[in-house]
Symmetry: C2
DNA sequence: CTTTAGCAGTCTTCTGTATTAAGTGCTAAC
DNA sequence: GTTAGCACTTAATACAGAAGACTGCTAAAG
């Protein structure tokens, strides 16, 4: 347990350092403390904080910077989240107030807004129910010229489509028969079950109608996969450049490919609980991200599931400001999306 | 008119400099010349080449680098395009040999392959006819739950779709009536004409069937716009970082937004003629690109129009190698796409 | 027992200087 | 026309010294 004064000192160190990026020394610190103590006293306290591992120094005569444990202590015990700026809130509300045709658009745009507000990189994940989505219905629309569009609709408002070509002639009535068969067998079933049944039950049936079902089956598989993997958006990727110290391309490339791999990236921002969580550097257990922190906030669309927004920034980021923004944003987004769902999905 | 020896010297300067990035001096140059002359002689020649503006130096005692005019002379008169590597050709053929469902996929993937081969940034444009595309047909597919998908098919194999919501109830028969009306009036007409007629002729008609046609009309407009603007793909955006000297984010950001603006970027790679063209630095007439060159090559899909592939690299890029790659690539792509069209669009 | 002033010592950063290496231009001889 | 030789220019590198920012420790004061 730290004394009040030690807490104050740690707090100022974190605040100063995240603002300036310069290690903070005893003199500057003592002048900022609300109680009057000399720099020598502060030095004693700092020596103690270093001993217990909350701060470190770069070399023997430099100021101190927070250690990972120091950040953790700060985030858990010291930080009081800045309430979000009025102007920032206006920006959020304005950008979310436009017309949207699909959830994807809102969630995608959210990534851009969030990255603009923070000047970091933002990641957003669409709302998702606890259970696997359920196949609503399935369509095949002939477009003429051997082209067919496959459309898949899930119970959570997701529409996935893909155009493919079919060899030989296939009349609209045959397509209708295939569609009826598939819907009879699979509508109302969870997608993972649909995926397995596609191979075992559907393919043999399709053979009755279509001679060469390869492209149809492949397309079915594709749209199913697309509907069942969780969609993931990134905003402000370029900002990584400005907040990474090591401005070296060979260093950044693997980070970019990490971010663009949906599965990998999604696992960093799956927030366990209901609100805001902060993961700092090594806590992300990926060596590439050891100098970065991720702040995740989940947003809640009631019966339609939960989504996640997240900000990726340097470990030395102004946590209280960013947490305030993420919190404000997730609340607005929840509101907006509930509205959207209520309007169209009664 | 330059003498043979002057040409050789200029050629070696460009070759050396594009390879190493280091200004080239008289001594290194003389040792590379096929005829034996002393460095002093070379110095005399270089002084002349500088006088007529083909090379410059950074400071009074540095080696020489090609000027923009020097590059231009080299590209126009000196360069003999490397035939493409066998291994590179294999890579191209392999990546283009997979199954593709839509043109977009091939063209998009081409940008990635091309950027990988060159380590620069690649831009690709879909094939386009000389005349505006023609509206093939138009569909509205009810998806249930107030959702409707609009699908637009053009005569050049383009399929554009968008989901929108419709207030109130709108039975399938009403939708069918709207679709029939639109197709009757507009099918077979060029898209630009369709766009203007949408507002004047179609909207009043739609009002007969739908009370609140806003979202429908907006969607029609969107898909039309999407189908009539030329699609544009970028590969290897990140490579910009590694070949830009000034690794400064504030310098790169405007370039990225320039590249991501379809209209702006497309105008740089509209190639006038039928083959390969090279635009060097200031010739691009955009100050942001003054240190970059663009090599464009058009590919030809016969009656289905022409597309463009392009490579964006630094002015000091190995032109002969890159030109070889672009040329090899456009030939393969032409073949592949003709194949594709022949197969499905008889 | 805590706080403080003072001071020696450490390390970074900045500045100026010297040195080296690469390359040019010019001149005079071949 | 070509070449050798030399003086001159500039960038890059290395080094030394000074300044500045801190720390840790000690000893005195509260």
């Amino acid at each position: 347990m730290l004394t009040e004064r030690e807490k104050m000192i740690l707090k100022i160190i974190v605040n100063d350092y995240t603002k300036s990026g310069v290690p903070v020394g005893s003199k500057a610190l003592s002048s900022q403390l609300p109680i009057h103590v000399s720099s020598a006293t502060v030095r004693n306290e700092m020596a103690f904080l270093e001993e217990i591992g909350l701060i470190t120094k770069n070399h023997s005569s430099s100021g101190r910077v927070p250690s990972i444990e120091g950040y953790r202590y700060y985030v858990d015990n010291l930080l009081n989240p800045n309430p979000i700026d009025n102007s920032d809130m206006m920006i959020i509300q304005n950008s979310l107030s436009g017309r949207f045709r699909q959830i994807d658009e809102i969630v995608q745009q959210s990534a851009d807004i969030l990255s603009n507000l923070t000047n970091y990189t933002a990641l957003t994940l669409k709302p998702e129910q606890e259970t696997t989505p359920i196949l609503g219905s399935f369509r095949l629309v002939p477009l003429g010229n051997h082209k067919v569009m496959a459309i898949l609709i899930t119970d959570n408002d997701e529409v996935v489509n893909q155009v493919f070509h079919i060899d030989g002639d296939l009349g609209g009535d045959k397509l209708d028969a295939v569609v009826r068969m598939i819907n009879d067998k699979l509508a109302g079933k969870p997608l993972d079950e649909v995926i397995t049944k596609l191979k075992t039950e559907i393919v043999p049936e399709i053979l009755k109608y279509v001679k060469n079902p390869d492209s149809l089956v492949q397309t079915l598989d594709d749209v199913l996969m697309q509907a069942s993997t969780n969609q993931f958006y990134i905003g402000g990727e370029l900002n990584l450049l400005s907040f990474t110290d090591n401005n070296d391309i060979s260093y950044l490339k693997p980070i970019y490919s990490l971010l663009n791999d949906t599965d990998d990236a999604a696992k960093f921002i799956k927030s366990s609980d209901n609100s805001i969580s902060v993961q700092i550097g090594p806590e992300l257990s990926n060596d590439l991200l050891k100098d970065y922190s991720i702040i995740t906030g989940s947003y809640d669309v009631g019966p339609y599931g939960k989504g996640v927004i997240a900000v990726l920034g340097p470990t030395r980021m102004p946590y209280s400001r960013v947490i305030g923004i993420v919190d404000g944003f997730r609340n607005e987004l929840s509101k907006k999306l509930r509205n959207y769902y209520d309007k169209y999905n009664q």
